[in-house]
Symmetry: C2
DNA sequence: ATGAAAGCGCTAACAC
DNA sequence: GTGTTAGCGCTTTCAT
């Protein structure tokens, strides 16, 4: 079965028109008479013709492909964001070309690879990124938008578009609420130390505490994972006096912490409060009822795609940094 | 900043060689002398040259792109499978081109769209698929492998390669274990009725019960979601006598069921047993300790990619249907 | 409105 | 081993 793919020439021949006529009927906004268009469409239909996007892209220099860098899909927040992003891109007529980066992996090498596919742009929702890589992307006219992360090398802001949640505001919200409810000994469970989100949440946490003349009642790293959160909480429980509250840099760790607290026989929120970050679906499960800071996934995705398209239609525009509000969702894991 | 992309011609000029020499140094297994290769590489490096995969694909008729159809990333089993698949493809030098289908969506339209990108093959881990679509893919030489699903129209087996877990075997394992432990009134919480996996799990469940002269102690649909499982369990709890065990078509529903049972004040596994299917990470969380049937994600992904590659190197080979064992993971949600 | 012709950037014969 | 020459399937002038 030696199948030859059907090309515009085949269609043209069958429709009795020129090859360019075929091209025109499949090019939005080209001038073809209804008569030819009909003939072409009929022939195309009969032959099962579909334009070759590669050949088209070679000429138009736009492929509709958007590189999407993802990773750590074990953290439920990511697939949710990713799913939303994928379907939004699709709605806008773009195709996500995936790049998976392992935890702590750098995206640079993979980015160069997808660049070969002449992608129209690239959206990073995971992985880090050297400034040089960003510059190279921009140099060849490929817009980059960073979601929930900063560029590897600090000080390179204003280079690419970014959208992220107000991590600092969220941490502040958590601390204020906790303090207002009378908590004094508040500990922090950190995410991966090398992430943008963690450092923002962490330092805002520290600052907010300081504003009340408080010091953290402990800090442990939980690497953004369930197991990490659990272990971190256990370590925190070895301290005395016990913390009165735990602020976790994400929900997954908070869930792990909650389980550790329960295993230790502690009453939540009676004896200890727990606050997370993200608002993943599990946070609402009755087994946890986690109080947390909700990220506006929909808003993040919308802005990311908008930014990309804006840049696509005006390569000269200056980079924007969008920051979206987070909201405190009060459930039952914290005495507030 | 009107950036012209650097092409092989630019590199050739700078290196003082022919354009084909450049092509050859970037084509694995072509004959170039070390001398020229060096010169070319140096020039390429200096200019920041990267081969254009689109142009290459136009000629070689292979792009390295693999369409991957995903959906329902809210069920933790899917992102896990998907992440594994994406990284395995990447390791094999392929690029996942994403197609997201909404729940109950059909993949056909989207498949035709990605086909325009001259993908080398297509892997479906979500969505359904008409037989006609499959035939069309095969007709143009694009291998299709179905993961964990059958083809839409029944009776079209042997058409495409498939890999899935032994759903029937898993259901049987669950029933046998439950019955052996003395359970008699066993109810079923179904996934989406229109899925391959659910019907296999369901009918094997029924058959296994029948072999013991038993009838299901109730059946409710939970649509594979947490909320669905919760609601289904609640409905089941309205019956009397109460079921002694719940077999859930996936873990997410089982978790919802567990929470419903707890809310009703039932002791698990003292008064009622719960068994799931998948073994998602949450199943192991101390809050649930769900007994479940584990799917061999790694094996599934490996076979899927192997099948795709095998088909790629021999388009004539007959379709294979791989079925992988599942294993019963005993935790604490069932008295076994 | 339509056909002819010229490439887009690359690989693959084909000579040398 | 290397340059020259044809295209891959398409869009886009340029005439008509």
């Amino acid at each position: 079965m030696v199948e030859r793919k059907v090309t515009s020439v085949d269609v043209a021949r069958r429709a009795g028109v020129s090859q360019s006529a075929v091209s025109r009927t499949f090019t939005p906004g080209a001038s073809v008479s209804v008569a030819t268009r009909e003939k072409v469409l009929a022939a195309a239909q009969a032959l099962g013709y579909r334009p070759n996007m590669l050949a088209r892209g070679l000429i138009t220099r736009t492929t509709g492909l958007v590189g999407v860098v993802v990773g750590d899909l074990g953290n439920p927040y990511h697939p949710i964001l990713f799913e939303s992003l994928a379907s939004r891109l699709q709605d806008r007529g773009k195709r996500p070309l995936l790049v998976h980066v392992p935890p702590q992996g750098t995206a640079d090498a993979a980015v160069f690879e997808v660049l070969q596919y002449q992608i129209d742009g690239i959206i990073l929702v995971a992985g880090s990124f050297a400034e040089a890589t960003a510059r190279e992307c921009l140099a060849i006219g490929t817009p980059v938008v960073l979601v929930g992360r900063g560029i590897g090398d600090e000080g390179a802001e204003k280079l690419v578009d970014t959208v992220s949640s107000d991590n600092a505001g969220g941490a502040r919200l958590a601390v204020e609420a906790l303090v207002a409810a009378g908590h004094r000994r508040i500990a922090f469970i950190a995410g991966r130390r090398d992430t943008h989100s963690n450092s923002e949440r962490h330092s805002a946490f520290l600052q907010a505490l300081a504003r009340h003349g408080l010091e953290p009642a402990g800090e442990e790293e939980g690497s953004y994972s369930y197991e990490g959160g659990r272990a971190a909480a256990q370590r925190l429980l070895a301290r005395s006096p016990l913390p009165e509250a735990l602020f976790c840099a994400n929900d997954l760790m908070a869930l792990g912490a909650l389980d550790a607290l329960r295993a230790a026989g502690l009453d939540v929120p009676g004896e200890i409060s727990v606050v997370g970050f993200d608002d993943i679906p599990m946070a609402a499960w009755p087994a946890y009822e986690l109080t947390t800071l909700r990220q506006d996934v929909d808003g993040i995705v919308t802005h990311a795609v908008d930014l990309l398209e804006a840049r696509l239609s005006d390569h000269g525009r200056t980079a924007e940094q969008v920051i979206l509000d987070v909201t405190l969702v009060k459930r039952n894991s914290a005495r507030l």
